[in-house]
Symmetry: C2
Subunit: 331 residues, 2 copies
DNA sequence: CTGTTAGCGCGTTCAG
DNA sequence: CTGAACGCGCTAACAG
């Protein structure tokens, strides 16, 4: 293993000079920079991240907290998209990302979580899929001992940013389109919402309520808990008497469509997310596509900015209205 | 941040003693151990992993190399299962896992990859989804500068283990069951195989060849490249004249089933993997379920053993024959 | 069995 | 603009 000292010797300078060159410090003569870089290339030197973070009071690492459904055989596509986007961006930015599942923090107090993260050299956190019930995480963010970026949770403070698409607008867009496209008047709309205590669920619901006022239709709301089965049950009960079924997620939309098929009635259904799974449900439908990979990448980007001293803020990502049909995936 | 020195002072011992207690060294009196542990609890001390790995010549971290299809919107379920299993096990074992995508290593030489990993404090590697074309990875393993565990690639040397289900046997099992269950004689079987240069593809193919000899049926083989579209095309061409269609993956099985539906003929189809997606394909079929999460966990376990001095070996994981029907996922 | 001390590889003052 | 020296938190000899 070649160290900074080897490089210094090779370039005929002091170790500190090499360090400064590597970290792009000012006030180094062009000539020295060139000599050092040459030595680095010749010796194939890569700074040791471990030593680096230890020495620099180790605040560079980023914890990526997420909540995959590790109990079931199915671990969802969205989580993987998030991970991929974050990991790739972290690689680009040369920061270390520490994936942490919520389950690893279970029955830990805020203090314990903080010491754990500190012991890992974590300075910033990105949280995906936090709900109002995650009390420990809530406090973690509020205490501002780290720089935080929340995905899909609208909380901002001096050291906390959030990133999300405009959930309310997106829900309105996709629902409006589905309702307008429907031949014949849509007087009665069934909305299958998400979780009771979810941030995004509430925003999407607000969007539907607004739309109902704007377009003046009857809206009946039932909580599907983001479960396909619940959505199926709800649709079996209330699907027939409504003209259009709007779901707060694709998975629930699949459940609703299946129920309609079983009942042998047809009503337009729309979803939310744009997951590939939809391509396998057989039917067509409108949905909102969020670019999860890009959202996660932006989250990592933002936490790096915060670590560099930026103020917390809201970042709204664009969404896209799509009509899903049969897709081919090559794995 | 409380350090080992604080603990030492609190317990009235030397830092090295604390270190020894924390790392479960022998030759420490019960009494001292108790006193130290007490101080640790009181101060809520968590050893700093960064400093630890720096001091101990940093060989503890494990790189988890995998190859998700980051280009498409769909990033597959199997990859996420692997990640979850590995991450969870690493948490349990208190080792750090460094997820690395193949794409991050592109156009790097073996030497560069090695220095990169070294600079990250990596001592062991787990590789998922390596193919015969991944020349750099092949050499990385052969050079034995790290402890390696390969998933689904049968290579063993002094510092390399591999983990896999018995691909040949599993393929035989699922195909035999599907063929035997079929009413009427199955004289002609279509096998849609995987990639040309894949390790597992070849083993599965060998299984089919053996089975054809054992059960004495005609076998026609076509390479589906693990692509749903290719499988569909192949089935459209050759599906009708065969009695049973055996596919080397679930995704291809979906493609084959779709083709049969379009052609309005029925033949039994079987897949391989047991992914949840299958539940959305609508039809029923036999498949092999591998527990990817457990496989990844075992891989991490094995690399830790290798790092502790164990010899490379082959680890065969159990597989399960299942009949897939409609499933409900709660996301 | 326990304590002292010298690094691990790097960042960072502070003299020169 | 450069370099010597100290320390990050911990482990690993070596003394005692």
């Amino acid at each position: 293993m070649t160290t900074i000292r080897d490089v210094a010797k090779r370039a005929g300078v002091a170790v500190s000079t090499v360090s400064k060159v590597v970290n792009h410090y000012p006030n180094i003569s062009e000539d020295t920079i060139r000599r050092v870089n040459e030595a680095i290339r010749e010796l194939n030197f890569v700074p040791n991240t471990i030593a680096s973070s230890l020495s620099s009071k180790q605040a560079g690492r980023i914890a990526f907290l997420l909540n995959p459904n590790t109990q079931t055989q199915a671990i969802d596509e969205i989580t993987m998209q998030y991970m991929a986007g974050a990991l790739l961006k972290a690689g680009e930015l040369h920061v270390e990302l520490l994936p942490v599942f919520f389950s690893m923090l279970e029955d830990k107090s805020v203090e314990e979580v903080e010491t754990y993260l500190h012991s890992q050299g974590v300075g910033g956190i990105v949280i995906c899929g936090m709900s109002k019930d995650d009390y420990v995480l809530q406090r973690l963010v509020a205490r501002e001992h780290f720089k935080n970026v929340l995905v899909d949770v609208p909380i901002v403070n001096a050291s906390t940013s959030y990133i999300s698409v405009d959930q309310k607008q997106a829900q309105k867009d996709v629902a409006r389109k589905t309702i307008m496209d429907n031949q014949g008047p849509s007087r009665d709309v069934l909305y299958i919402s998400g979780k009771q205590n979810g941030y995004i669920s509430e925003e999407r619901l607000q969007g539907m309520l607004e739309l109902a006022r704007e377009l003046d239709f009857n809206l009946s709301v039932h909580s599907g808990e983001f479960s396909e089965r619940r959505a199926r049950e709800i649709t079996l009960k209330y699907g027939e008497v409504n003209d259009v079924i709007v779901c707060a997620s694709d998975l629930m939309a699949i459940g609703a469509m299946r129920a309609l098929t079983d009942m042998d009635v047809f009503h337009p259904v729309c979803g939310f997310d744009g997951i590939t799974l939809m391509g396998y449900a057989g039917k067509q439908m409108n949905t909102v596509r969020q670019n999860f990979k890009e959202i996660a990448a932006e989250a990592v980007n933002e936490v790096v900015k915060l670590l560099a001293g930026a103020e917390g803020r809201a970042v709204i990502m664009p969404h896209e209205l799509v009509r899903l049909e049969y897709m081919d995936i090559i794995v």
